[in-house]
Structures are given as structure tokens and as C-alpha cells.
């Protein structure tokens, strides 16, 4: 029981915030929140949710583990899919594009994993290096936005919006039942203790970055579906906001605590917050102030609440 409380404790606040924001949003814009529009909204929120989920495994692995290149990964894969494969080579079949997206993501993830676990460069700087490389390469192969994306891909942001998110969630559900997941949480909480207990720390961490890359590939599909084109400037903007979503969702940036569900809830919070603020038609500057203050306030409240839960669990 204590374990369940502790596991849900982290995302409890984000979930509560989600509920409040949903009520506010439905009240403000009932038209957008009709059941018929749900899939469209999901498609709109999907790239941020995907980016937040992609950022999570690397963060869970601890000791400063983080992948700040998730945004540019989405941007590069978006550019390769639409500009190179669809427009230059005329390949638009889902059975080519979907595996291609995941494969490129896996390659970049493996590169990040190699840099952080085998070469042992500090993760934020290693992935910052990848960030610069990926966004530079993206701008080189795609100086300006082009389109369009194939119709089936666009439908992933409409009638089929649940598909990519569902696939990521399902895969994580299987993974969280594996021995690797337990090892990841052990390494994230205390890598030295895990190492002395015989956990292959390097391998476990490497796979976390690999997984982040694969999920970034999935997030790139969601992004391509939503914007329906290739755009070199959109991807990198997701990096920092995705990390905010992860933190909001109760994932500890020190590693070892949290999960993809929390990250997804945190991302939905940010999406609904932006949606509600946009409704008031205020200047984007005020929006930015509100967004920053609510982010800090939310993280502060999450920390206070996690402490309270931890104290209660100790008493039980």
C-alpha cells in the first residue's frame, strides 16, 4: 500500500492540476471540448506529450542523466521523413516511414547513450553537443519549411491521434514489467549501490538513452502529423518545455523516481494551461509570465506534496 501511495504521490498534484485545468478549459471553450473534438485535441497535444515521454527514460537513469536533444531529434526526423523520403525519393508508405522514424531515433539515442555511458561525458553537455549537431544538420538539409506530409500521416493528428501515443504507452507498460525497469530505478536512485549489487549500470543507462531516442522517433511522427509538413524550426522548441512537463509530472530530475504516465500528465497540464491562457486573448508576453510562474508554483507545490506523502508513508 505504501508503495502505491509513494508511486502515485509524485503525480498526484499534476493529476489534480489536470482535473482543475480540464474543468476550466471545458467551461471556457465548451465547443473545443465536445467529444467529437477530443481526438483533434489529442493530436494537438501529442508532440509535447511525446517529447515529455521521450525525455523521461534518460532522466530516470540518474546521476545528471538528461537528454536535451529530444527536440532537435524530432526536428531532424521530421525533416528526413518529409523532405528526404517523401518529397525527394517519393517513398510515402507507412511501413517505410514509421520504422524509419523509430530507427533514426534509435541511432541517435544509441549515439547519446554511447557518449554518456561509454565515453562518459556529462549527459547535459553530451546531449547539448548532439543538440547543436542535429539542429545544424536539420537546417542544412532543410533551410525552409516544405510540405505536404502524406494523408495517412496527417490522420495521426486527427482520427488516429490515439495510435502513436497508445503505442508508446503500451510499450512502456510492457517495459515497466521487465527486470530492466527495476534495474533502471535502482541505478537512478543510487548507482553505486546498484553497481555493488551486480546491476550492469553502463548497459542499463545505455538502454535508457536508446529508449529516449526511439520515443523521440515516435514523437517526431506526432509532430509531422500535426504540422503536416517539414519545418526545421519547430523541433528544438520542444526540448525545454518537455523537461518542464517531466518535472511537473513528478519525475525526479535526480533520477530513480517517476514514470512516463507522470510525464504525460505534466505535458497535458502545460497544454491545457496554454490553451486556457490563449482563450483570454492576452498578449503572448503575459502568457509567458503566467506560464513561467505557474511552472515554478506547480513544481514547488509538487515538492511540498511529495514531502508530505513521504512523511505519511514513513509513519505507516
Amino acid at each position: 500500500m505504501g508503495r502505491i501511495v509513494a508511486r502515485l504521490g509524485g503525480i498526484g498534484f499534476a493529476a489534480l492540476l489536470l482535473l482543475v485545468l480540464l474543468v476550466v478549459n471545458v467551461w471556457l471553450t465548451p465547443g473545443r471540448f465536445q467529444p467529437s473534438g477530443w481526438l483533434l485535441l489529442l493530436g494537438l497535444a501529442a508532440p509535447l506529450i511525446g517529447a515529455a515521454m521521450a525525455s523521461t527514460p534518460a532522466i530516470l537513469s540518474g546521476r545528471g542523466g538528461i537528454d536535451v536533444s529530444v527536440g532537435p531529434q524530432m526536428g531532424l526526423i521530421n525533416a528526413i521523413l518529409i523532405k528526404v523520403l517523401v518529397l525527394d525519393f517519393g517513398i510515402a508508405h507507412p511501413l517505410v516511414l514509421v520504422p524509419a522514424a523509430l530507427l533514426i531515433g534509435a541511432l541517435i539515442g544509441a549515439f547519446n547513450g554511447f557518449l554518456t555511458t561509454v565515453v562518459r561525458i556529462q549527459p547535459i553537455v553530451a546531449t547539448l553537443g548532439t543538440y547543436l549537431i542535429l539542429s545544424g544538420v536539420t537546417l542544412t538539409i532543410l533551410p525552409a519549411p516544405v510540405g505536404p506530409a502524406p494523408v495517412w500521416l496527417k490522420s495521426l493528428a486527427g482520427p488516429l491521434a490515439f495510435l502513436p501515443l497508445g503505442a508508446v504507452a503500451l510499450s512502456w507498460w510492457f517495459i515497466s514489467r521487465s527486470a530492466w525497469y527495476d534495474q533502471l530505478m535502482a541505478v537512478g536512485s543510487d548507482d553505486r549501490a546498484a553497481f555493488t549489487a551486480g546491476v550492469p549500470v553502463t548497459g542499463v543507462r545505455f538502454f535508457a538513452y536508446l529508449l529516449s531516442g526511439i520515443y523521440a522517433g515516435a514523437a517526431a511522427l506526432m509532430l509531422s502529423a500535426l504540422i503536416g509538413s517539414a519545418d526545421p524550426n519547430v523541433g528544438p522548441t520542444y526540448t525545454l518545455i518537455a523537461i518542464s512537463a517531466v518535472a511537473l509530472g513528478g519525475v525526479s530530475l535526480a533520477g530513480g523516481r517517476g514514470g512516463l504516465l507522470g510525464a504525460a500528465v505534466g505535458a497535458l497540464d502545460i497544454f491545457l494551461l496554454q490553451n486556457a491562457l490563449t482563450y483570454f486573448n492576452i498578449s503572448t508576453f503575459v502568457l509567458q509570465i503566467a506560464y513561467g510562474s505557474i511552472l515554478v508554483a506547480a513544481v514547488v507545490l509538487t515538492a511540498l506534496q511529495t514531502r508530505a506523502v513521504a512523511a505519511r508513508v514513513q509513519h505507516v
Binding site: I121, Y131, G136, P143, I243, G292
Partner: protein, 319 residues
Amino acid sequence: MSSRLRFDARVFGAFAIAVALHILGTWLIPGYSAPFAIRALLVLASLLAIASIGQTLVVIVGGIDLSIPFIIGFANVVAAQLYGGGMAFSLVCVIVALGAILIGLFNGAVSAGLGLHPLIVTLGTGTVVQGAVLLWTGGFPSGSAPPAVSAFVSIGGSTGPLPFPPLVPVFVLLAALVALVLARTPFGRRIYALGSNPRAAPLALIRPVAMWAAAFAVSAFFAAVTGVLLLGFTGSAYGAVGQPYLFQTIAAVVVGGTALVGGRGSYLGTVGGALVLTELNTLLIGLGLQPATVQAALGLVIIVLLSLYGREPAIRSTI
């Protein structure tokens, strides 16, 4: 002792690479070592190194500060706006510095007091500060720098007999002061102690919240100084002028051998890191590469450099 040697090797490595890059540049690009080019390089490296003073302290204490670019933008725009509105420049500086220090104190106190990751806290406050500045100016800042500040950083300037603008010698003194404070004062030793063992330090009567607040306040203060200096350098206010400094300060700190897990590093290393980054940027642009290619090459070179001499110890050696 061995860790001490290793850490000095990293500092030495950063300076050696800066020199190597400079020789490479002189060999490849005509005029790379011309007096004007060297002055420009020193001015740019000094600006980056000043912006990285706080990042070095914050990283040694075990944190990270993402609000630096936003505070640079804040100081840049607010100083121009107030000075343009007719306020005395000394008063402008006091206001800007106090504002920045308050933001820094908040960053450090909230991160340490509530056990929050500073990455999120500083990102949040940075976003708020940027929004507030944009709101105040409507996105179109006006005003300019006083001539004294422009002369202080002007690439063509000179200091008495020295062929540099005053910024360069003043920066050398400042760097020596920062290195001295870190290595020889109780404040500096506490920063290292807290960064290397956050659990043991409070038992030695080091107050974590106060130390974090101080480190982040220093960071915000020097970010504000950079913002005002950049105003003199570019001539007009621009809210996003600090954006390149977000990753560059972190890269300078790490290339200079300071570990992001805290407790080890030095400001001398950061100065070396700032030189390396400035040399690299100048070299790549001088080779006629497109901005996008420069960016990609910069990322690649940072990775290669760190894989040569910036590697972390293997887990089995830390038990």
C-alpha cells in the same frame, strides 16, 4: 592528490587547445592573428568568461543556472530603457544589479530550500523575467548605452599604452579576484565543500540555502554585468541578446574541467573554456561555413574535446 593533478591537467588542456586552435586559425585563415582580430577575440572571450563566472560557482556548488541568458536580456533592455529615459547611469546600474540579485537569491533559495532541481526553477524564473521585460517594452526596446560603456568594450579601444579596450585588463583583474575568492576564502571553501558532499557540509555548519542563494545571486549579478556590457558592445538593446549564452556558459564551464555533479572545478578552467569556444566560433566562421554548419561543427568539436580530456570516472572506480 591524484584528483588534484587530474583537474589541473584539464585546465591545462583547455588552454592548450585554445592555443592549438589559434595556431590552426593563423595557418588556415589570412589575417586571423591580425591585431584587430585578436582584440575582437579577447573582447568576445572576456564577455563569455564574465557571463560564466556565476555558472562556475553554481556548478561547483552542485546546481545549474539556465536563467543567465534571460537576465542578460533583462539587464540589456532595462539599462537601455532607463538610461534612454534620462536616468543617471549609476542609478540605472544599481537598479539593474539589485533586480538581478533578487532574482538570483530567489533561484538559489527556492532550489535549495525546497530541494527542487535548479534547472526547472531557473528556467521558470527566466521565462517570467523575459516575459516581464517584453511586456514592459512591448517587444521593441529603445534607448542606448552611455558612451563610457561603449568605449569600455569597443574593439578599437585602448587602455593607456595597452592596445586593448579597458574590458580586457579589467577582466584579467576580475578573473584573478574570482579565482582567489574560490581558492582562498571561507566562502570559496564552503562552496567546494557543499558541492562535494551536500550531506556532510551542513554538519560542518555550512548553511546550504544561504550558500546556494549567494552562488545564484553572484551568477545573476554577473549575468547583469554582461548584459550591460553587451549593450555597449552592440550599441542598442535587444531582449534575446543573451540567448547564445545559455549553452555557451555551460559548455565553457565543462570544457574548463568543472564537473556538473559539483565539488570540483576552477574559474581558471572556465576562462580556458571561454577562450576555446571563442576561438572555435571565430575559426569556423572564418572558414566561411554557414551558421547552421558552424553550429553542427561546434557541437561535434565540443563532444570530441570532452571525449579526449573531459571524461568522468568509471562507476567501478567511485565505490
